[in-house]
Subunit: 507 residues, 2 copies
């Protein structure tokens, strides 16, 4: 590079592209510092070309611009603000199905969403980066503390080049920091011990690092699951790392005992279909003499179902389909339950043990569907959160699966299955069947469970479907089973609010 | 330092403490590299004192030792293996209360714990560190991808000193990496595009960083919540950072409507206490004419409770206390429910709205207890996970609270409360009341919920307790209510297995 004259005017400098060129957009860890750079041989040291009488002023203005730039980069690099989603062609626009004067409804939904965010988000979602060429060393994952319990911070250290004096600071928001008071004769100054900002100063790097190895963090308030961010700083280097604050949870384990009866409970819901139900029970008992059967019954005039290992629960008449499902599942005491509809029939291919085998081999699975008749119905859900004003986009894609279950080529990973499935009791109880869904409903359970339930479908276990019967209650049953359009409309209104959706498509 | 002769024997070197001195125990990020150090002025460059004919051999053996050292440090720095917990004095040792021949029970419990770990742990718990003085820049938190969806990795860059050639690699386990194929004329070599290990080589740092800015990650299998670890490497620098793989979940929001009746449902369980129940209902209706009341009833001979806004569910006789609680809660359609026992009485101080107010102002709260009579009972739980063989230690400490609820000095944060509380329906449904608990049970719900439920207690809302009555069912009620010792024993056995406990103390 040709050597330039020392005389540059302020204007020259301000128009010099090299002087004002901001560093490439660095993802910040709040205040990123890549560290001093090494100038290539032959570079022009720009500070030397600044007129002495303007140096201070120019440096101040440049620093101000740079801080603003960093703030903009920081803002850009927060969790990306949610963007509106695109509805699949053929979707139902939910706001078109709301009752008139739905402005209040929108407001209430927005308020519930804010509460939901307060409950589910924390600083543990914030995007953080490790800046390069930093002399700081710190934990980036896995530093977990119990609430209000002093815990040593692992791995804090400074590896800087030799200096006469080293000063580091560590700052937190939701807790306090402590370290050992240095022994007499050890040249270390500690400021802010027991407060949220700790500063350690020493002429000896070794002594400083010994103190850093003894820093402990104690969160201030009791919270079962949240986080804090610690800002670790040395000269113009800064790093931010997360601290997970979590109340340890005891596990909830089920004793599988020694046979199928202590592992699986059969659950079903019945309404005005006693002939069908009794036919089903007869076939269950052919193959599973002692298995526990739970029946949720909201028939108009309940009839007692006799027999051992049968638990029948009488609900208010016509209480509803999902209310009954939620009731039945709430009573299960075994690790798994098998959902059946009251008009199924067990056959020799209804081998519950085969479903248990797959679940046991894949402990992360929650729901395992089978075949009803020849029909192995399943679907996946394409869901986009959308933005905070309009809501999300939900698209149920029938017959779409992700891939096979490793080791089980006859089984596939999906998001939803038929009404014949084996399920982990605790996982399904955590999602629940929404008792507001009275008549027509199926996919809604899997939508509520999207992201909570690992679902798969298998082709080698099946149940049979009874041919349609005609008996004294059939007409009344059909009146409820095939509800008026108003029922469909209220279901869409439920999707609008409960799942914060903009549109939905049942494909 | 005095200048040493160049002639050192191999033995001299091997005994030289400075040569073999391993670096101080660094917390590793799998293979930590603090980066080259700057030797102090006057240092002896040790490679120069190694006899030339032994240099290669010595270097190899030193490198092998160093790798073993790193492996040992790595092993030391995994998540600390769980250590046995210490039972509080006066605790019940649960293994002493097991049936004879409990070896199989221990085995089954150990198996269930392994499954539980497979379901709840992932690489997202691994302790990771950012090594100091690394030219690598990378994300350390907040990089979240949808399963099987290509996503750009933010913030990857190399800021190394000038060299003729730069080679970086990025390696993952649960997915593949892709980047743009460099345009003709751009001197960049990309190896492993679309595979789990990507290597980028260039003579231009700028070109390399442009390519790094375009690297995307796609997870291989569908999983609702897991992680991957990416190893980013340049020369002898290495960093490991986490990738969160998560299926986005639609929220489940409740419409609070416009009055208390659309916000709160009252729930209760009754057994052989119709006089008490009817007295309670009368007082509820004095203050809340239209509020929905859900009654789970397992009385021997059920009697219909008439009246609007009453939902009565008939259970098998004497089915059980927690089974009934779980049933009642499974039927709630409002955002909150108020739990009451069937022998309470509402008074003018039973202002449900006051409890709702506190819950609404503190959206992270799940359960808010009040006073029964003059008694504001609450407790905290001290829980230590313990080790994998023996299990955890649980200690219920009555009348122990953490601190006040910010803004509500009459309320305190605790782990458990009385049987009079307002609760978020979805949060309590996720924990559940274990239907295996038939008679005596209270704290068990809060133990199952420890770490899942944020619980508080307030002194300004109360309910009254009926004086003990004597009616035709009282004797039979007492026979069930005060069960034989065998009931207490089976409860302890349940704690042993379900919560994987070693000991428990009710203080």
């Amino acid at each position: 590079m040709t050597k330039k004259s020392n005389e540059f005017s302020l204007q020259d400098l301000q128009s010099n592209p090299h002087f004002h060129r901001l560093p490439p957009p660095l993802p910040p860890s709040h205040l990123p510092s890549p560290g001093p750079c090494t100038c290539a041989n032959g570079s022009t040291l720009l500070k030397n070309v600044v007129p002495k009488n303007q140096a201070v002023e120019l440096r101040k203005r440049r620093e101000k611009e740079f801080q603003q730039h960093k703030a903009r980069v920081l803002a850009r690099n927060q969790l990306p603000s949610k963007t509106a989603c695109t509805c699949s062609p053929g979707s139902t626009q939910l706001k078109d199905r709301l009752p008139p004067d739905s402005e209040e409804l929108f407001k209430r939904r927005a308020k519930e969403l804010q509460q939901h965010k307060a409950r589910t988000e924390s600083v543990l979602s914030t995007r953080l980066y490790a800046p390069s060429n930093s002399p700081l060393q710190y934990p980036i994952q896995g530093f977990k503390v119990r609430p209000m319990t002093p815990t040593f911070i692992p791995g804090l250290a400074l590896h800087a080049e030799q200096r006469s004096n080293y000063t580091v600071s560590l700052e937190v928001s939701e807790g306090v920091l402590r370290t050992t008071i240095p022994a007499k004769g050890v040249q270390v100054i500690v400021t802010g011990n027991g407060e949220s900002r700790l500063m350690v100063e020493s002429s000896s790097l070794e002594a400083l690092n010994e103190l850093l190895a003894d820093v402990s963090y104690t969160s201030t308030i009791y919270h079962i699951h949240t986080g804090d961010l610690a800002t670790f700083q040395f000269e113009d280097h800064e790093a931010v790392f997360p601290i997970t604050i979590k109340q340890p949870q005891p596990p909830v384990l089920y004793d599988m005992g020694t046979d199928i009866n202590s592992q699986v409970t059969i659950t079903t819901k019945t309404f005005l279909r006693y002939p069908e139900l009794n036919a089903l029970l007869k076939t269950i008992r052919e193959f599973y003499k002692d298995i526990e059967i739970i029946i949720a019954d909201d028939s108009m005039k309940p009839e007692k179902i006799p027999g051992p290992h049968i638990q029948q629960f009488i609900m208010p008449p016509a209480q509803g389909w999902f209310a009954g499902r939620n009731l039945a599942v709430s009573q299960v005491t075994t690790k798994y339950f098998l959902w059946v509809d009251d008009d199924f029939l067990f056959t020799k291919w209804t081998k519950i043990e085969e479903l248990v085998k797959v679940m046991e081999a894949n402990p992360e699975l929650d729901v395992l569907g089978g075949k009803v008749g020849g029909d192995q119905f399943y679907f996946s859900l394409i869901y986009d959160e959308g933005d905070e004003v309009e809501g999300g986009c939900m698209y149920r894609k029938s017959r779409r699966r992700f891939h096979s279950l490793p080791g089980y080529p006859q089984c596939s990973v999906v998001n939803g299955v038929v009404n014949f499935f084996l399920a982990r009791t605790d996982a399904v109880q955590r999602v629940g069947f929404d008792p507001q869904l009275k008549r027509l409903a199926h996919s809604e359970f899997f939508m509520d469970g999207l992201g909570s339930l690992m679902v798969a479908t298998c082709g080698h276990v099946s149940v049979s479907h009874q041919a349609r019967q005609k008996h004294k209650d059939t007409r009344l049953y059909k009146a409820f089973r095939y509800p008026p359009r108003s029922d469909a409309r209220s279901k869409l209104q439920l999707h609008f609010f409960k799942n914060h959706l903009k549109c939905i498509k049942y494909g």
